[in-house]
Subunit: 589 residues, 2 copies
């Protein structure tokens, strides 16, 4: 038997388009001789559908499309959809259907509903109450959905799930496990998934087919990498990362009943009493796609896919980016070119009297190297106009950060004007370090429809820049952009490092505080100075109001600002280091 | 026995401040002869703490403060806090403690964890597994927390709770129920609460003391109105709306055991077999605060409190508002004056060449009537500067909505400059109708730290304006502001009604679609034209990207945009009316 892994890129809410894509893949799979094709979690609806799930019309449209699919699919299929039970109230289920011969032969609901970080499934779904393997041809298959397999000891404990769906399934003696997922990318997550499934296949002595979604949906980027492991946890087949793919696994004949029975008895004898897990006797064969485990390579691929999909799924063909000559806008522009092509990217340099000539040169140089449309719009006329307009109101007041922010807001307004006039999407260029400590201007450099690198700490932006040049075999991003010290150039001779700790320190504290959730004392024990730690943490805490109005940013870390980060604004809790600190450094931007 | 209802205004994360407030109220209650004081849900932590709950240091600080409180409280108290159980993993509970005689005598966890609309409790908390009444003096009291009592037939079914905590409690025969809540305001919700508790008290034949939080925390406004009902569902006592209050209920002596026993038997005979609910014999006496059920009056009070608290809790003394001469900014300014006083509000009119003289006059008139600081900053210099700067880029292109948006963004930048220079908070003035259909400019009129009236449909803004004048006994908001047709004045002779359906129609469709979640066909059946319904719905759906970057807005309706509204941006689902529609009207802003 040949099983296809249909790693498709769905769009949230595009029920017709998603179903058409499944039909197309199923037809290709049939032509390749496959018997069964497996699609990702909620393939009909797209993931995550969020509050679309509150619309009855959405649920109905998804059900109708499933029924149409069952009649039109050329081979058997496992299809993720939203199931509904109108028994007592309106209960929704994150479900997958086993479609065969024009009928829905079985439906498996999801049991474990992740409700942490970017996930809110308890808000919408009810958990499965039944776990029954399906029978296809002569094989018994246990179906599960995404989180259902995330029950390794440590994870189970942390999330306090009371139930283990794979255990319940394996007690019913399937010969093969299939998991359909929509598992978002984060740096390093591919290894965690492989380790997880290795552990589960070994524990249950069953092979597993794992089909993941691919593509960007708002902040989330699904990285694909669907795979198959045998019961020993050996990788049999793997699909490509960050693109659609259709791969196959040959599933060999079972042994005879007599052999199986004897083996079951033998196995049972070896394991703890009360457990009835048996060893699978399926033979599996497949091919393994190239697999990069470099975090920079993966991050870049994720951002390219996330940018391309956000633009495509929102209906934008072209992007416009403010080019400062600095590293952030350079990397954002390079990603945009990879995502939608150089002919679809416009760069605008907006120098002020505080901009250095080398910044303008670097911006121009970048645009030339990328081959994109480039314009220079000096902002001094607007700066002077604001000075004129505001001088009566500001009479007797010193110049301060106000005037710096005005420059940033003029640039934001120019980019938005280009967006309005030409219909391009503004890509915001801020990085995670800035966003964390509020070293950015609301309605200024924070303007944009999508914040491409807002989950990349500054040092990571440099890594990506270097890799872009390395991959191209030539400096796409000007060397001087990479080498010069970062500056917002909002006043003469300004450097980021005047207002912020060195990025290597800032990023280290940021990682420990935001991603690892460490306490100030723990961070200090990592070797950072107490007053710097306290200062950085305070800045992160008090800039929540800026992040609440930030453009949606592509998530590539284990903890990004945005949909998975839910901090109150008007709040007074401050984490304090108990170690003595000297007076905290002050500063603002 | 005298029980105090301590209706306090807590701040999220201000553990020390919240505890101090409780001590202060408890001391006042002791002076008034009270034996026991009851505080709202999560009074130590503030509600909703959101991701602060992920910080161990926050949980610890809250526990330490509870222990300090137990030693310092002059009388017995029921205190809401976050409990933690480190048994298997880290399990948190939304809990309340019964503190008496320097000890924690009992802890009751919350059972029903709301995870819908603005609530995400499943994300953070585990449900209660035990329901045991506490014993205070000679009375047995059943404690519950907020959602635990929201189990009326229809609500229970809709939310599919599998358990009824009040039923479990009442089976253990308490004589009194106490519920501690943080129940956010929405228009009409006060009646729903009273009806709910009336039903519960009658069903269980027990009196209930209901203590609600008061005050604004980001988008949520808690309206107080704590109350006491006897076992017949009669209102015995009620605290003030929208302000802190400390009220008392006298709880009379129980009858003798013999009397009680005979009554229990009598009651049991009348009710279904297997149920052991008994009639309470407590006598209750209290006072009832004035209670307005006018939606306009309540909405205004809510917005004043929400604005005051957001500013206070974020550390802002003064507000700055752009005054256009229109109704939205006028109402926002009037609310700001009520919230923080006229001496703390600055109004800035920012006329363009398209602004009518009557608009400038109306803005000035308003500022005079409110008695606030007022400035006029004409924006033509910046408009000209943008024209100059952008003319090479825009060469050969017609003027369009781009230039209109530039005006809005200049105004936004001026307000933000005033905010930066003076440290005032910018209050955004957009209403719900605009925000719904995207008739607003991102980074322009959408600028601000708080969107005061963004949950008020336009017609409701007029209601509030008229009420403000009625209440004052004179036109605070100029009559011409109320009477003239709404205009954004971004081009000559522009009227809102050129781009939008009349507000009475727009608001009706908006209410049906957003708040009542009706389908297009249902809305058409209410009497609206099919093409108008389809057009409004499409506009609402496609403007999600603007709302994602909107300032936090005060929630006063049953369904506000913001934290309780979680729609994907890049999505393709469109609800279509099945009724035939002519070509949908087009238009943009």
């Amino acid at each position: 038997m040949k099983i296809a892994l249909g790693q498709i890129n769905t769009t949230v809410g595009d029920i017709t388009g998603n179903a058409d894509r499944m039909l197309e893949f199923a037809n290709r799979a049939r032509d390749a001789g496959a018997d069964l094709i497996v699609f990702p979690e909620l393939a009909v609806a797209g993931y995550p559908p969020l509050d679309l799930l509150l619309k009855d019309s959405f649920i109905q449209a998804n059900l109708e499309r499933l029924h149409r699919l069952k009649e039109r699919l050329p081979i058997a299929a496992i299809v993720g959809f939203v199931d509904v039970n109108h028994g007592k109230g309106r209960h929704l289920f994150n479900a997958c259907a086993f479609l065969e011969g024009g009928a829905i032969k079985a439906v498996q609901h999801k049991t474990l509903l992740p409700t942490y970080d970017v996930f809110d499934e308890d808000r919408y779904f009810q958990p499965a109450t039944q776990h029954t393997p399906i029978q296809y041809k002569d094989i018994s298959i246990g179906l599960s959905i995404c989180e259902d397999i995330w029950t390794r000891g440590d994870i189970l404990e942390k999330l306090s799930y009371q139930i283990d769906p794979l255990q319940l399934l394996s007690e019913k003696k399937p010969e093969l496990l299939i998991n359909v997922s929509a598992s978002p990318f984060a740096v390093g997550k591919e290894h965690i998934r492989l380790e997880l499934v290795k552990e589960q296949t070994r524990r249950h002595k069953l092979p597993m087919i794992y089909v993941n979604s691919v593509g960007g949906n708002d902040q989330l980027i699904f990285d694909g990498r669907s795979f198959v492991m045998n019961e020993k946890g050996e990788l049999i087949a793997m699909a490509k990362a960050f693109e659609e793919d259709l791969i196959y696994v040959e599933v060999g004949q079972k042994e005879t009943e007599a052999e199986k029975t004897s083996k079951v008895k033998e196995t049972e004898a070896k394991i703890a009493p009360g457990r009835t897990i048996k060893e699978s006797a399926l033979k599996l064969k497949g091919t393994i796609a190239e697999f990069s485990s470099d975090r920079t390579v993966n991050t870049l691929s994720a951002l390219v896919l996330g940018t391309r999909d956000y633009m495509r799924k929102c209906g934008f063909k072209r992007a416009v980016i403010g080019l400062s000559g600095g590293i952030d806008s350079a990397v954002t522009a390079a990603i945009a070119v990879k995502a939608v092509g150089k002919e679809n990217v416009m760069g605008i340099a907006m120098p002020s009297p505080f901009s250095s000539q080398h910044s303008i040169d670097d911006a121009k140089d970048l645009a030339e190297k990328l081959g994109i449309e480039f314009h220079i719009v000096p902002i001094e006329p607007a700066m002077k106009a604001y000075d004129t307009m505001l001088s009566p109101l500001f009479e007797g007041r010193e110049r301060d950060v106000t005037e710096e922010n005005i420059q940033a807001r003029i640039r934001g307004a120019i980019l938005m004007a280009a967006s309005n006039k030409f219909g391009h999407l503004v890509l915001a260029t801020g990085n995670k370090s800035e966003l964390a400590v509020g070293y950015c201007t609301l309605y200024g450099d924070m303007c944009g429809g999508l914040a491409v690198i807002s989950d990349l700490p500054k040092m990571m932006v440099y890594d990506v820049a270097r890799y872009i040049n390395e991959e191209a075999g030539k400096p796409i991003i000007p060397v001087s952009t990479i080498d010069k010290p970062p500056s917002a150039e909002l006043r003469p001779n300004q450097l980021d490092q005047d207002s912020l700790p060195p990025y290597v320190i800032l990023d280290g504290i940021l990682h420990a505080y935001v991603e690892q959730r460490r306490k100030p004392d723990e961070i200090i024990r990592l070797g950072y100075r107490p007053e710097v730690v306290q200062d950085v943490i305070n800045r992160i805490d008090r800039n929540e109001y800026k992040r609440k109005q930030a453009a949606p940013g592509l998530k590539v870390s284990s903890r990004a600002f945005g949909m998975g980060w839910r901090m109150p604004i008007a709040q007074r809790f401050q984490e304090k280091a108990t170690a003595p600190t000297s007076h905290a450094a002050s500063g603002s931007a």
